[in-house]
Amino acid sequence: MFFLDTMGLMFKCIYSGILSTVLFVCLCVFVCVCVQEVVAGVIVLVCKESLQHHGITLNMEGLVNLQLSSKSVGVFEAFYNSVKPIQLISNNIEVAKAGKIPGGKTEIPFEFPLQAKGNKVLYETYHGVFVNIQYTLRCDMKRPLLAKDLSRNCEFIVHCQPQKSKIAPTPVNFTVTPDTLENIRERSSLPKFLIRGHLDATNCVISQPLTGEVLVENSDTPIKSIELQLVRVETCGCAEGYARDATEIQNIQIAEGDVCHGLSIPIYMVFPRLFTCPTLETTNFKVEFEVNVVIVLHDDHLITENFPLKLCRV
């Protein structure tokens, strides 16, 4: 079940003909209708004078692009071995037969059913590094000889329909002291500190912010900054196995300078649109998210506490 974000996009193009100047604009307005799950809108054509054409077509496509990172495989392999894109949906209609468009503004309405191809599932729109899920509309106008064909692209956004079930929030408490740290060379050189906190939930609703609290009980070295780092973990499967990469989406500072000890500081982060989607797990690829609470001390010690997240849409 899917529905579309309501949005309007406009494309402009100035076309210069041999004898006359024709302004051609294609504007698609998508109206979401949840029940029928259709992409609907209008094609807007604006030209000064009447325009001869050989047909206008509209093409809708949903694709998952996968890319192998150079870290997992070599640079060249990454270039050659990129996985074939997975087509989720594809539809093509002819909007207008060859003919003439009168001068001025012409609006042609259209409508597509959102029906996945075969037994495929439509995923949410997601812009990542190694995984990209994108839905586009392309409008083409064939033109007679001596004139270039015109083409406009427009992305539309697909959101999963909310899952009916409610998730109970599971708060996670954490305590950071020199003893709880892993991955350090010299434990003795560490300054003393005690930092406590909690996340209200690790299974988050994507439209709701990530919340929680962090509290510096004490710290010998002054604190320089406390940050929240949102990380995506993308896994691509291919013939040779799979590649798993973690990259930063955004880094939000929640404390700056030597904060008051014993006073809880709120953790608050809004999940950015497009760059996050509900946690996704398919046979070919996976998109997961994690958050790091990063504490930077004044002597540039970096203390990180990692929490895997499970995002969903309610």
Binding site: V129, P222, E256, C260, I265, Y268, P272
Partner: protein, 974 residues
């Protein structure tokens, strides 16, 4: 044809006049006005009942009390208590004491009250009034720097292409990109003024970027600017920096709000009280986009500030947006480590909160409590280190907080219930180093609240840590509250004593005076001159060593101002021993004069009764002398004029009642003191003249020997004062006036001397004088004066030793010798106006006379010699005039003037000459013809003149005029 020569040598006789009879004739017929008739000024009244007419006739009282028989007047019927305004007033008045008066009225009242609570009233001191104060108070001479890095936020999405490149390289590349755009700028070594200008430039470029649709650039500017607020180097300047930068944030917030607002007002403008449902989807989407963008700002401080700036936009998204966001932002501020930065961020949030949602008090309180919790950071190590590096003392550092904390407290205290304020105070008490807080509490809370607990506050101030916040500032704040609200009567003296005990111990004169200045108001408000005197003595004691007063003129002036607002009784004021010594501290001339001036202004405004109190006179003379002595060659005209006005105001308030001699001697003294200000001298002469007239009134016109001597002394005063004036016209008019006064007081020789003096200085009158900086011909003034003078001459008796009509002849000689402007008829005009005088002099009874002074009528008793003397004189005059007429006739361009002169001579002769004399009558006819010869005469005037003559001819013994009329022909211009 007009022949002048044929008329020479004829006797010109003025006709006899009976002034009384003429006066009777001239009076308009008296039309008796019946009382109660229509009068335009009488209010229009509706009285319809016939029975009442008689009774109500002429009454002007309003008809509101009349019975129903009077038709309803729309205005008075509104006053019956049915109009909405008085209904509200009645409702709210009864609503407070009564529990359930009337349900509807009560509801109405409650609703109104709720609304009042919601809105921020005019009694809330707005931010912009604080702005200027902060900017002037927190300044620095250190060099500042602005570091703007217009890079892309690192938290933003990475493009897949750059994923392979390492983090470091990526930032480098971004920086390179930015440098190409020229957007990274680091400005060092800026003076404070430069800094302010730069910030203003940024404000401008923000607006430009916005209007040129570069929204992203605008956002970047705002983010970079708010980032500057995390920089606390040059910490003394931080409050000012905060003010400057929040201006930019305000601009930005307004821009965003306006844009979204216009997006929704496409078909019709959105009402002010719109709800979420009224907002269309596009606007919501745009608004949401802004919030998403801001939520991804990497750094905490810019994120906080920018979100606070567009807090108002939450109204477009959902109903509770603001309500939910404010507490969240409040909590987020806890993440700011630097206590100063955090305090100011809180102040900004409170400000925005008060603007956008003044009813949400909770987050204000939350902010304050958080602030209290973080208070211990101020004495923490990182702050200490910072202060050492910047070489800033702790007390100075603490004062940096006061604008922010005061603002937060002001927001909280605004219309807050008493218990809340008490709770706040208790919380402040609990904290250790609470001087700073205490100071802000006293500044922010209602003065009434503070005043009621003044004794408590004094106790708390005493308990404060001496090292932290300077105590004189605390007392200053307390004094400010007490200046506008009254503490309980019984505590006042204790408060003053306690406060002054501390104030007097303040060593630094600057600190001392700034505090003492505030407390003067409290002292003046509640205590008598004794206490104020003590305070003044203390101030003198503190400020005199090392001439400390030189740096504190502003404060000392304000002390004087405050005293003057409360002490309007100048006898009390000047009986304060220390008042004049206090004035002596103003040793810089300009300040001194300014102070004197302010005292004088108050004196003139508030001294209602005339005074002879020696204390006041001495002091005021001293003050006026100070002002007078400040006048020098470089003083501007305006300045002189205003000083003179003030001194004149003082002189007019001086009166010794019946003790005229003392008044005169005061004038003598004043003349000596104020010799440089001419207007003052003029006033003195007027005063003395008035004195003489007053004496005359008291003696009912007949002077005793003593009073006669006195009025002669007055005349002598005027006579010797007038020559020292430089303005010729004030001299002339004063001579004339004083002459008249002398004459009225039977001082004949003095009057003669005045008038002679006036005549003798006539030749000195310049032909042009400067009026308001422009050179004007003096002719019209001179003509006016001479006409006035001539009128006086009628009653001046001839001097026995000089010839007949000595003064008239003298005047006419002067007129003849005076170098008149070329092409001017002024001389002849004077001659023409002298003719009526001569005519009046030849009457048996004069038109007017002065009691107890024998005019020429009595002296000569209609002696034919005297009359012939007059006739001879008038003949000469007429001959002169005719000569002039002839001369005018010679030139083509002067014919118009000839006509005019001829006509006025004609009128003079007609009115005053005896036209029974044939020759004279012939002359008038000739003059008439001459004036009409060139057709310049206005027909309307001619017609009216003829009608007048015809009218005159109907009078008894004027019948001869009808012959003359026959000969006067009306020539119409063809």
């Amino acid at each position: 044809m007009f022949c002048a020569s044929s008329l020479c040598g004829l006797s010109r006789r003025s006709r006899g006049r009976n002034y009384d009879a003429e006066l009777q004739r001239c009076r308009p017929e008296m039309a008796p006005v019946e009382f109660g008739d229509y009068h335009p000024l009488k209010p229009i009244m509706v009285t319809d009942t016939k029975t009442r007419r008689g009774a109500r006739k002429g009454s002007t009282s309003s008809s509101s009390s009349s019975s129903s028989s009077v038709p309803p007047d729309p205005l008075s019927s509104m006053l019956d208590g049915t109009d909405p305004l008085s209904m509200f007033a009645a409702a709210s008045a009864t609503e407070t004491p009564a529990v359930s008066h009337s349900a509807s009225a009560g509801d109405l009242g409650r609703k109104r009250r709720e609304k009042e609570e919601e809105a921020v009233g005019p009694d809330f001191e707005p931010w912009y009034s604080k702005r200027g104060e902060i900017l002037t108070r927190f300044t620095t001479t250190e060099k500042l720097s602005i570091n703007l890095f217009m890079g892309i936020d690192k938290g933003k999405a990475q493009s897949p292409g750059s994923s392979g490149v390492s983090e470091k390289v990526r930032t480098r590349l971004e920086e390179l990109d930015d440098l190409e755009e020229g957007s990274q700028r680091e400005m060092l070594n800026l003076s404070q003024q430069d800094y302010t200008n730069r910030i203003e430039e940024l404000n401008q470029s923000l607006k430009e970027a916005w209007s040129s649709d570069q929204k992203v650039k605008a956002l970047k500017i705002v983010i970079q600017c708010s980032k500057l607020l995390s920089d606390t180097s040059v910490i003394q300047f931080y409050p000012s920096k905060f003010v400057l930068i929040t201006d930019i944030l305000d601009t930005f917030g307004q821009l965003v709000y306006d844009r979204i607002w216009t997006m929704c007002s496409d078909p019709q403008p959105l009402p002010d009280s719109f709800t979420v449902e009224d907002v269309n989807d596009t606007a919501k989407e745009t608004c949401l986009n802004w919030f998403f963008k801001i939520a991804s700002i990497r750094e905490l401080l810019p994120r906080l500030y920018v979100e606070a700036a567009i807090l108002k936009c939450n109204r477009f998204l959902n109903k509770n947006g603001i309500q939910e966001t404010l507490p969240r932002l409040t909590a987020m501020i806890r993440g700011i480590g630097d206590p100063l930065v955090a305090a100011y961020t809180r102040a900004y949030l409170c400000r925005i909160g008060m603007e956008v949602a003044p009813h949400l008090k909770d987050s204000l309180n939350r902010n304050f409590f958080d602030l209290l919790t973080t208070f211990r950071q101020i004495s923490g190590e990182s702050v200490r280190n910072q202060l050492v590096v910047q070489r800033v003392e702790v007390p100075e550092y603490l004062t940096l907080y006061s604008p922010a904390i005061s603002w937060i407290l002001q927001c909280i205290a605004y219309r807050a219930p008493e218990p809340l304020l008490t709770e706040m105070m208790e919380r402040c008490k609990k904290l250790g180093n609470n001087a700073l807080l205490l100071n802000s509490v006293m500044r922010a809370f209602r003065p009434e609240f503070v005043a009621a607990r003044a004794t408590d506050f004094i106790g708390m101030i005493k308990d404060c840590d001496e090292a932290g916040f300077p105590k004189h500032l605390l007392f200053g704040s307390l004094g400010q509250s007490l200046a506008s609200a009254d503490p309980p009567e019984s505590e006042r003296l204790t408060i003053l004593n306690e406060a002054w005990k501390v104030i007097t111990k303040v060593r630094s004169p600057v600190d001392y005076i700034s505090c003492a200045e505030i407390w003067v108001e409290f002292t003046c408000r509640h205590f008598t001159k004794r206490e104020v005197n003590t305070v003044l003595a203390d101030i003198i004691k503190h400020m005199t060593p090392d001439r400390a007063f030189e740096d504190a003129y502003a404060q000392l002036q304000s002390v004087i101002r405050k005293i003057l607002t409360y002490f309007h009784d100048f006898s009390v004021l000047f009986s304060m021993e220390r008042f004049l010594p206090f004035l002596d501290m103003f040793q810089k001339d300009s300040v001194r004069v300014e102070v004197c001036r302010s005292i004088m202004e108050v004196f003139i405004k508030h001294q209602v009764d005339l005074t002879r109190d020696p204390v006041i006179l001495n002091a005021m003379l001293h003050i006026c002398k100070t002002m007078h002595d400040s006048v020098n060659a470089l003083t501007l005209e305006d300045e002189k004029r205003s000083l003179a006005l003030l001194i004149i105001g003082f002189i007019r308030m001086v009166s010794f009642g019946r003790d005229f001699e003392q008044q005169l001697s005061f004038c003598v003294e004043a003349r000596a003191t104020f010799c440089n200000l001419e207007p003052v001298l003029v006033q003195l002469i007027h005063t003395v003249n008035q004195l003489a007239m007053e004496t005359r009134r008291v003696m009912r016109g007949s002077h005793s020997r003593k009073t006669a001597a006195f009025v002669r002394a007055c005349a002598a005063y005027s006579f010797i004062t007038i020559p020292s004036l430089s303005s010729i016209f004030s001299r002339l008019s004063l001579y004339l006036l004083s002459g008249q006064v002398a004459l009225a007081n039977q001082c004949l020789s003095q009057a003669d001397a005045f008038l002679k003096a006036a005549v003798s200085i006539l030749p000195e009158v310049p032909r042009s004088i400067s009026i308001e900086g422009k050179l004007r011909s003096s002719e019209s003034f001179l003509l006016d004066f001479i006409n006035n003078f001539l009128a006086t001459l009628l009653v001046v008796p001839d001097h026995p030793e000089h010839g007949v009509l000595y003064l008239v002849r003298g005047l006419l000689n002067m007129v003849q010798d005076y170098t008149w402007e070329e092409n001017s008829d002024a001389k002849v005009r004077i001659y023409i106006s002298a003719l009526p005088l001569l005519a009046a002099m030849s009457q048996e009874t004069y038109l007017y006379s002065i009691p107890k002074v024998d005019s020429n009528e009595t002296l000569y008793g209609g002696d034919p010699k005297f009359l012939s003397e007059i006739n001879k004189l008038s003949e000469t005059l007429i001959a002169q005039i005719l000569d002039h007429l002839k001369a005018l006739g010679r030139e083509e361009q002067s014919t118009r003037r000839q006509g005019a002169v001829a006509l006025s001579l004609f009128s003079a002769l007609l009115a005053h000459g005896d036209l029974r004399n044939n020759k004279l009558s012939q002359l008038t006819v000739n003059l008439w013809n001459l004036s009409h010869k060139h057709g310049y005469c206005e027909t309307r005037i001619s017609v009216r003149t003829l009608e007048h003559i015809k009218h005159q001819a109907q009078q008894p013994d004027m019948a001869h005029l009808s012959d003359t009329v026959q000969r006067l022909t009306l020539q119409t211009r063809t």
